[in-house]
């Protein structure tokens, strides 16, 4: 199976890429100003106690030793202890990652759904006022800073109209048996709406425009006319032939866009006090919590790489003309 081999080889490559990224971020974080222990210092403490903490974190060792220790630990699946939570970095990161997942995945799916439908509509209405209006609308949404939109929404819908709660992931004090239970609860959904919508505002634009232009390309092809001549009915012409072929670039865009959504989520999370990975990342970077920052970077990097890989192989699968090598 050709595409399988391709997939395998790419996977093999990406392992090395990941290692490269690992090394890179390890050192770039050490280049950042600040000291992990600075956070602990307070007048109540003895000055020398700080050395104690440094030693405990292994920060007193020379950098290259720290690096090799880190790499060997990583190979053993141990990504270090958070300097802030004192819990395994991986656990901390995953706790926050899920929160981001349940926000971004629906946002992306919805916005791509809307994008597809809307884009098709615009393509149909080629040259009309509606098309122009629709495109302007999409472009305006796309060019608005997501945090700004979030702020405005927060202000209007939460603080003035009191329709939605003013941020955070679920009702105050609500406790759940598990994550799934929380996600399935109505309260969670209620909190989800605003961040979801403000995220969608930004991400809708791309699929909308992409679908439109791609459909406009396909719809002029002869095989569409041929299909019409076959008299298989307008609907199946549209879906079997136009959309099926036009969807290719959109699908690939979707795969990569999800990865982008994660790294971009930090702004939304800030505004809506959503305990997601983006916020964790910024916090750990500001607090020089290296293990957490590094691991969250690794996770995102892995996701980016995988998504790109997925996009490519998906394209190869969806479009027989593309021969993957």
């Amino acid at each position: 199976m050709n595409s399988l081999r391709f997939f395998g080889r790419r996977l093999f490559h990406s392992v090395f890429v990941l290692l490269g990224i690992l090394t890179f971020i390890f050192f770039i974080f050490r280049l950042m100003p600040g000291d992990p222990t600075a956070l602990f210092i307070s007048p109540e403490m003895a000055a020398d106690a700080i050395q104690e903490i440094r030693k405990a974190f292994g920060l007193d060792r020379p950098l290259y030793v720290q690096f090799f220790l880190y790499v060997s630990n990583v190979c053993r699946g141990n990504f270090g202890i958070s300097y802030y939570f004192f819990e395994p970095a991986s656990r901390i990161v995953f706790e926050h990652l899920w929160n981001t997942l349940v926000l971004t995945i629906p946002a992306m799916c919805l916005s791509y759904l809307i994008g597809l439908v809307g884009g098709t509509l615009l393509a149909w209405k080629r040259g009309t006022r509606l098309e122009l209006g629709g495109m302007v609308f999409a472009l305006v949404l796309r060019s608005a800073p997501v945090f700004w939109v979030g702020l405005i929404f927060l202000y209007i819908f939460a603080f003035k109209l009191h329709i939605f709660p003013g941020g955070s992931i679920t009702d105050t004090g609500a406790s759940y048996g598990g994550f799934i239970e929380m996600v399935l609860s109505w309260k969670f959904f209620h909190h989800l709406v605003l961040p979801l919508v403000s995220m969608m505002c930004y991400f809708m634009g791309l699929p909308l425009l992409l679908t439109r232009s791609s459909i406009l390309e396909v719809i002029k092809e002869d095989y569409v006319e041929m299909a019409r001549a076959k008299g298989i009915g307008e609907r199946s012409v549209m879906f079997r032939h136009v959309t099926r072929t036009a969807i290719l670039p959109v699908v690939t865009a979707f795969a990569t866009a999800i990865a982008y959504a994660f790294e971009g989520s930090v702004l939304i999370e800030m505004v809506f006090s959503w305990p997601g990975i983006g916020r964790l990342m910024v916090m750990s970077m500001l607090g020089n919590d290296y293990p957490v920052a590094q691991f969250s970077f690794m996770i995102l990097a892995a996701m980016m790489i995988f998504m790109n890989l997925l996009a490519d192989s998906l394209y190869g699968y969806l479009d027989p003309r593309v021969v993957v090598q």
């Binding site: 095989y223 299909a227 076959k230 008299g231 032939h241 027989p320």
Partner: protein, 338 residues
Amino acid sequence: MKPLLDVYNIKVDYKTERGFVRAVDEVSFSIRSPQNLALVGESGCGKTTVAKAILHLLPDNASISGGSITFQGQRIDNMREREFDRLRWCQISVISQSAMNALNPVYTVGDQIMESIQAHERIGKREAQSRIRELSEWVGLPPERLRAYPHEFSGGMKQRVIIAMSLALDPSLIIADEPTTALDVIMQDQILEKIVNIQRQSLSSILMISHDISVVTEVCQHIVVMYAGKVMESCSIEEFYEIPCHPYSMGLLMAFPTLEGEVKRLISIPGSPPNLFGAVSGCLFHDRCPFRRSICEQIAPPDVEVSPGHIAKCHFAHQANEFRLLSTREDTWEANVA
């Protein structure tokens, strides 16, 4: 007997930024099965538009603004899409102009033929497949290639696929729009043969659209010459070769080699078709016509019935004989500078 397809005085207008353009003007012809009819003319003369008009495939900015199209006795030009879909393919099928991209790249050719069958007939997959296999053998396409994708085919092969597809439901009318243009001469011959003997076996008639008379002569019995959206001459192939009555037809004859391969120098008609935006006074062809008189520039010529079933749109259809002699000399054409 009543004709299979009767096109009567249809007019098609295109709406453009610069106003309306009448691409097809009062074109009439009719096909009696199993006779085949050819629609010839330079590119842009509106012959494809006629085909599209018949097939309800006119672009959004074009519309039929007059005349009627009757198929097997029922009007189809004003038919609702739903109903017309039922006629499509099982009654009227198409061999499309550009074989290169008339097939959807993301489906196997087998599927695409299958699609056209299943759209109209409630038959099992196996049955359909056997029919497809039979078809593909018929058009000389190895059945195992049915599972391949269009981009893996050569132009000729694609054309065969399309032919096979068009025959899938043996329709009573096949509209072949420039079926061989994209192919090299050898291919052309093979494909034409196919079309001919297919037409012999299945009793369907062909409306063949081409700019190349040498192609149509093999297939068709009747010919309609179009120029700038109007019918110039309409007659049987024989008459067309023996006694063409319109200078333009003569020009065309001079412009193509006959397949009998009689040696003659080919000419080309100088000048170009009139701009359809400005209303042209008189005969549309007058500025390129070597035999024009002053009348040609004022009065539009009527349809002159030279002999039963032979119509030419020329003031001097009856003096056609001396034109014919002159027209064989290329200096006639070169001398004429519009």
